[in-house]
């Protein structure tokens, strides 16, 4: 029998479908190993059979897959359990290194205990730190509010400091003449304790006033500074006593022999009408 006749005898199909007897199977496997054509014929029939089977597939019930997987997982566990047991029961290992074995199991136990301990500590610390976090968060909010408030105050203080610094700079100026005006210079003054000081820049002719001590006037009246030039009073501006912490900028006066303060109606007068409180000579 030649190869072609053998192939077309039905042995290929008989073998693939599992209908060949033991002798036929053995012979077919020998023929496959020896002849590529036989292998080829077998593969062709296998593929035709497979394709036909795939086209006629009937999907099994849905839960079948999970049942099978559950089974093989149990089988896998049994296999690995057997393997472990075998490894433990290898006698040479037990005999040669029993001490190491015991020690290593001890270590594992300590490590396991330590792990649980650390976990508990970690959990406790988490709770503690969360509490702390909440508390710090609240405190932070408070501090932020305070900080904003302080920044505002700081701006106010800085503005005030700027004023004092510029005041100080003016006072330090060598061209600045200081004219003290005590109430005692005015016999008719309603307040003999009253004191005010004029700072007069002889170069720029700018005039500044410091209220040292003057009584608070009624609300419809205001103090007015006068420069007396050749016997004539010249208006140098009105001023408030309250919040007169620094130097009050008055009108520019080019020339004067005397400075004086009178109490006038609110807004001031063109010529002095009210009583004179303080007075000082420019020298």
């Amino acid at each position: 029998m030649n190869i072609q006749e053998y192939i077309s005898s039905g042995i290929v199909e008989s073998y693939v479908l599992g209908l060949a007897d033991h002798e036929e199977r053995a012979e077919f496997e020998r023929m496959c190993a020896a002849h590529a054509e036989v292998r080829k014929a077998r593969q062709l029939f296998e593929l035709a059979l497979e394709e036909q089977a795939m086209m006629n597939a009937i999907t099994p019930p849905k839960n079948t897959k999970s049942k099978i997987f559950a089974e093989i997982e149990i089988a896998a566990e049994n296999i690995s359990a057997t393997t472990n047991n075998q490894m433990l029961s290898v006698p040479s290992e037990e005999a040669t290194r029993p001490a190491t074995k015991v020690v290593s199991i001890g270590w594992q136990r300590y490590i396991a205990a330590a792990s649980i301990g650390l976990l508990l500590i970690s959990t406790a610390l988490n709770l503690y730190f969360f509490d702390q976090y909440k508390s710090y968060s609240n405190r932070y909010e408070t501090l932020m509010a305070q900080q904003t408030e302080m920044a505002k105050n700081n701006d106010v203080l800085r503005a005030r400091l700027d004023t004092y610094e510029s005041t100080l700079a003016m006072l330090r100026d060598p061209d600045m003449a200081v004219i003290k005006m005590p109430g005692t210079n005015v016999p008719t003054s309603p307040d003999s304790n009253g004191v005010a000081t004029v700072y007069w820049n002889t170069r720029s002719k700018d005039v500044y006033l410091m209220v040292n001590n003057l009584p608070q006037p009624p609300s419809d009246q205001q103090y007015q500074l006068w420069a007396i030039v050749d016997g004539q009073p010249i208006d140098a501006g009105v001023f408030e006593v309250q919040n007169a912490a620094g130097l009050l900028r008055m009108k520019n006066i080019p020339r004067a022999q005397v400075f004086a303060v009178t109490l006038e109606k609110r807004g001031g007068s063109t010529t002095p009408q009210g009583p004179m409180y303080v007075m000082g000579k420019a020298s």
């Binding site: 008989s14 693939v16 099994p60």
Partner: protein, 181 residues
């Protein structure tokens, strides 16, 4: 399934031998339907067929080491496992039935448990191909492949000589192959 992964047969076998459960899932998704059909056609009973299908896949998983690719494709190997398992079940059940219910027709249970789906399992796959064969050929494949009878048993049942059984089966298989192409 949801995964677009496909394996070549070589990759699949190598992964299965490494006990890769993902590859096994792929194997199941791909082939369970085709194997289910042949099991149903042999057993004619949905519940029994489902039990056998599970048994087949568990055996494939356990015995994958013994699969030899030089002797045939993976599907061929699995198909033979499925057929053998089905025939074992059929025979043990037929034996039990014959012992228990001698007064009842053999196939009463089988008829009661037939697949409830519209698919007529006798009208698809290999069984459909069989219908194209001559009656004398069809009967022999039916007995040999779907009932698992040996040639000697068939000779006895059909009251034809053993040599004739062998020749007819071979001829039937050649025709079957031609119809499959």
């Amino acid at each position: 399934m949801g995964t677009a992964v496909t394996y070549t047969e070589h990759e699949l076998v190598s992964l299965l031998k490494d006990r890769d459960s993902k590859a096994f899932g792929y194997l199941y998704d791909n082939y369970s339907g085709a194997l289910n059909t042949i099991i149903l056609q042999i057993l004619n009973d949905v519940e029994l067929a489902n039990d056998v299908l599970q048994e087949v896949f568990i055996n494939v998983w356990k015995k994958i080491e013994s699969y030899d690719p030089t002797k045939g494709r993976l599907f061929t190997w699995m198909l033979n496992i499925a057929r053998n398992a089905s025939i074992d079940t059929l025979r043990s059940r037929a034996y039990q039935n014959s012992q228990k219910n001698r007064s009842f027709p053999d196939n009463v249970d089988a008829l009661a448990n037939r697949p409830s789906s519209e698919i007529n399992i006798d009208n698809i796959g290999l069984k459909k191909v069989l219908e194209k064969l001559k009656e004398e050929h069809r009967i022999l494949i039916e007995l040999a492949y779907f009932k698992g009878y040996t040639h000697e048993e068939i000779a006895e049942i059909e009251t034809i000589p053993l040599g004739t059984v062998k020749t007819r089966i071979r001829n039937a298989l050649i025709q079957l192959r031609d119809h499959l192409k």
